[in-house]
């Protein structure tokens, strides 16, 4: 079937009756990057707002987990490996102490960025006398490969500090608490490729909001915006899928089975948000020997939970919840820029602040200063 071009979808979108105000949330850094890079916001019909929500696993990674990773990294025998994004995320400690994994590395710790769980395996095998700790943050798409690594068999000297999160419980929380007001959801493509698009049905069936799974091309995103707006005009709500070439019914059953076999579902703490029921992954008891939290129990710091919110002055918590746009943070572009980030949303490639800055958004124009996404 020949696909419609981005322009054709844009025309179709403009041909629909314009809504007074229609807020479409996305929960995927990849979507936000595609939207910002293509400048889709400025092409929307009047009334349509595109809100970046909780789409950055690094941004919501609990501060106490990063703190623990830093403490582990400072061990003589430990090699701490993590996806590159994680290295510069700051924790809230005095300046005299290492405030990030990168700072720990500068202080002599063996911290190594990796691009794949397989790199962690390789390093553990290459240095059997060292303890390799893999600090693994990510959503379902990334946790499935981590599960595969666990199931294939881990060397004795490899353990995991797991900070994986599931995306749909965060959306369910937003909808149930009314924390953030939005009118439709664009659901993440690669999470759905693994878990199946059906995970998002609840948005329509339980909450009556239109939802469409989208890919990362402008055409797919515009098709999704069109789908949810068309539903709204028709007074209906259901789940659609504009990324069928990768997102199939049921997702990837082999990957889902791996996730189920390796991990159990637990409540998860989200930095700046708090605990969200059933939103986290933990190693099943059969793999407890590879749980870094058990292997190095002395570094668990439950008391950090309260200390561990976003850095002072940083509005990441509200950015992640979709309550404000990045450029509405007072530090955006001033004290906080990619070269000297204050909060995790400016560090991670998937953080909304970082994405907006990279896409050329500078300080707030006065015009939209008071128009926050959650204004009712």
């Amino acid at each position: 079937m020949p696909r419609r071009s981005a322009q054709a979808w844009l025309d179709a979108l403009h041909a629909l009756p314009p809504p007074p105000r229609f807020r479409i949330m996305n929960v995927c850094g990849g979507h936000e990057r595609a939207i910002s890079r293509a400048g889709l916001r400025s092409l929307m019909p009047a009334g349509i707002e595109l809100i970046p929500g909780p789409g950055c696993p690094v941004c919501v990674c609990p501060e106490e987990d990063i703190h623990q990773a830093i403490q582990l990294a400072l061990h003589e025998e430990v090699i701490l490996v993590a996806f590159g994004d994680m290295l510069r995320v700051p924790v809230n400690v005095p300046r005299s102490r290492p405030r990030s994994l990168e700072a720990a590395r500068a202080a002599g710790a063996d911290v190594r960025p990796i691009a794949s769980p397989r790199d962690a395996l390789r390093m553990a095998r290459a240095e059997p006398d060292r303890e390799v700790v893999f600090f693994a943050a990510g959503f379902e798409t990334t946790m499935a490969p981590v599960a595969a690594m666990v199931l294939e068999g881990l060397p004795n000297n490899l353990s995991l500090l797991l900070s994986g999160r599931r995306t749909w419980p965060a959306v369910a929380m937003l909808l149930e608490t009314g924390e953030t007001a939005f009118d439709a959801l664009v659901a993440p493509g690669h999470v759905s490729a693994v878990m199946g698009p059906e995970e998002w049905d609840f948005v329509a069936t339980d909450h009556g909001l239109p939802v469409a799974v989208a890919g990362f091309e402008s055409a797919s995103l515009l098709a999704a915006f069109h789908a949810v707006l068309r539903q709204r005009s028709a007074g209906a709500a259901r789940r659609e899928n504009t990324y069928p070439e990768v997102v199939r019914p049921g997702g990837n059953p082999g990957a889902r089975r791996c996730l189920e076999t390796a991990f159990e579902i637990v409540d998860g703490n989200w930095r700046g948000i708090g605990t969200i029921p059933e939103s986290g992954y933990a190693l099943r008891p059969a793999f407890a020997a590879h749980d870094a939290r058990r292997r190095f129990p002395e570094h668990a710091a439950p008391d950090r939970r309260r200390a561990g919110e976003m850095p002072a002055g940083c509005d990441c918590a509200r950015v992640v919840l979709g309550r404000i746009y990045p450029d509405q943070c007072r530090l955006y572009g001033r004290a906080c820029q990619p070269r000297h980030p204050v909060g995790p949303c400016m560090v991670s490639d998937e953080g909304a602040c970082r994405i907006w800055w990279s896409s050329g958004v500078r300080q707030t124009e006065v015009a939209n200063a008071e128009k926050t996404p959650s204004t009712l």
Partner: protein, 83 residues
């Protein structure tokens, strides 16, 4: 972080495949694809070294066009770390 790139399978050995994209070869795990039939010549979406879904050749080509654009943007960014 959930970025996935399309690659073509060149050879399969157990759960490991040699995959190619734009002349670059990589070892990719097929561990997550145990319920999918795969053969050399097939295309898969690869995320952090693991195939997560099979796609058609035509869709792989389209996804590559998009990925090229994104790489350009990323390369253009000051200090963006590239894995």
């Amino acid at each position: 972080m959930c970025l996935a790139i399309p690659m073509r399978i060149v050879a399969i050995d157990g759960f490991l495949a040699r995959c190619e994209a734009r002349g670059v070869e990589r070892e990719v795990s097929l561990f997550l694809m145990q319920e999918t039939d795969l053969a050399p010549g097939d295309h898969v979406m690869v995320h952090v070294g693991y195939a997560i879904q099979k796609i058609s050749e035509a869709d792989a080509a389209e996804a590559w066009a998009l990925y090229d654009e994104m790489l350009e943007t990323l390369d253009g960014e000051a200090g963006a770390p590239r894995a």
